[in-house]
Symmetry: none
Subunit: 187 residues, 4 copies
DNA sequence: TCGTAAACGAGACGGTACGTCTAGTCTTTGG
DNA sequence: CCAAAGACTAGACGTACCGTCTCGTTTACGA
């Protein structure tokens, strides 16, 4: 038997919208739970009833925002690979509202369930998409290396992130083209 | 004219030792400036006289600890590549006292000088070492790809970090062997 | 025409019983509306439908519990005075479930109707009883002072309360005997 | 050895002044620790370093404000009694900044040391003053009752407080005159 | 040898955000 | 319309931590 006042679905919606808004405006490190509450007119207690911490809200906000990316492959695996790689670089380098900075902040988070959720909804889809495209490229005989495609995907994503986060010089589209070129068999 | 009481050189030493100790025990996110001060018996004021912020202390602590890695190359570039790759994986996966988590936390840091210092002392050496070894491997004609060696280095390091930080399943030695194998020309 | 579900008379009863129970167990300052609701299995909404605030519930609980004290006077006014005084001291010093602490908390209450109700049901009866007995004592010529009897009653009750609340050393039975003795004419 | 930065005496001063100000403006029940902090420009943390709770600040504020009342007796004990009684009534009925409401709020306070401090500095002086004057009146043979003077003092103060807090009809100067008159021997 | 200027230890201070608590209101389902 | 359950608003609370400040004390150097 369901009883009691049901949770207002608008609350979740408004909270996540406000969170996303603040996130892309000020960035994760400047995100304050009170600001979220104020900006969407929801009491802090209500936020804490639904999410155990700020990090949980953020994960949900990102998930609800960019969780449903789709890519419809063509029958040219090489073209697909170039397209997906380009998308990858753009999304990583997107700035304050990149999924990367949230992933970084989750690394030290003790709540493994939260990390898992973010990984399954945000990180894995990108990885799987890239790995698939690489796999199809390999099956088409266009890949010049025998490195397993999923590890190749890790290296491509990792490389992009590394350039941004560690070296602070984001990977450019040209460089991606070079790298992809180096991965393909000469024709 | 230098006058006044000279700075006690032991202070820096003790502070960095204590910082490193706490860092490897509790991890960066649980590091508190007061804890450092207490654990080494140095006043917080003294710490702030020498370092402008907690992050600076941490950077120095890491630098003084693992800043002097050396690798003496042999005349077998392939063997060197395998050795360096193995070292890389170990250092990334080292745990709480890995240089990786500090690098992550510096990403959002506004002080670019600090980031630069960490990069020059900690991040770049690893990268350059790997790039060099890759370059020598390429010159020896053993590399199966035309991707520029420095970008290959980024991908290798980035991939390792990505596995740890994003996927929370550290790269294993076996997997490195596979990857390196895929990079080399068949004999 | 009265329609709909009739109010369950047991609800009021259970609520007041639970309130009184918590009141005498934990005291007024530790009384929580949610605790009352939980402990008697009544929804908070239901409580608020019947009483406008926590204070109102408490007042009703006390009224229903100790609102019906009776004292049947004898034809010996001095003996009556001694008996009533003794009762007074006992009720004031009763502990956590004394009517005194509720009276104190009502002092700052804005709802004057509520205060009035408590006064009429709890405070005034005691006062009037004492004043009456004093009056009869005076008429019998046994009172050694010309202070009006109602003000004398105020002083007796006030003195007892003052000892408890302000000095935290409750008036003893012996002291009451002394005071009453001092009020009476020597024989 | 005294070490560390000494506490700024102005902090205490400013905090207590602000507390007293808010207390007499809005009353105890509307007193907020944040308001005190804001209104005197002192960080909340600093307040909590010096006083463990709001109640402690308030006690200190009242003590520092009205802790040093003096009364210089004349050689007419009856006149003194009338004067002191009048002062008593005025101070009890003073309104929001009366010492009475703070005393009431301390009743439920668990910290007995705090209660003791308030009693010793605020409550007892009034009581002792009144008891002394009564005693001198008795020695002069002007007292019409054999009730011990300290208990008489309790009754007078208690009666005044009772009228204010329980009956919400403060004792008037005229009534005090009547009561005092009733206590004195006819001439 | 003695003054002086900086280093140092200790801890107060301002400020910001956090997560918790509680009173009282609102909104459902079910009787 | 009542009752139960629980979501919701609003606002104060006390804590944690950072980086700064202000003392008294200590120590090397130069006058």
């Amino acid at each position: 038997m369901r009883t009691g006042r049901p949770r207002d679905p608008l609350v979740t919606q408004r909270a996540l919208a406000a969170t996303w808004d603040l996130l892309s405006t000020k960035g994760y490190s400047a995100l304050r739970i009170d600001d979220i509450a104020t900006s969407c007119g929801i009491a802090k207690t209500t936020l804490y009833r639904r999410w155990p911490s700020l990090a949980h809200i953020v994960v949900d906000a990102v998930v609800s925002r960019i969780g449903d990316r789709t890519f419809t492959p063509t029958d040219d695996p090489v073209a697909d690979l170039r397209a997906v790689s380009s998308m990858l670089v753009q999304s990583v380098n997107a700035g304050k509202d990149s999924w990367v900075s949230i992933a970084l902040s989750l690394h030290e988070q003790s709540d493994s369930e939260l990390r898992l959720r973010y990984r399954e909804r945000i990180i894995d889809p990108v990885r799987e998409l890239l790995a698939e495209v690489l796999e199809r490229t390999a099956l088409a005989g266009c890949l010049a290396t025998t490195i397993p495609t999923d590890q190749l995907a890790d290296m491509l994503i990792g490389g992009t992130v590394y350039r941004l986060v560690f070296l602070h010089s984001p990977l450019t589209e040209d460089e991606v083209t070079t790298i992809i070129g180096g991965l393909l068999t000469a024709r």
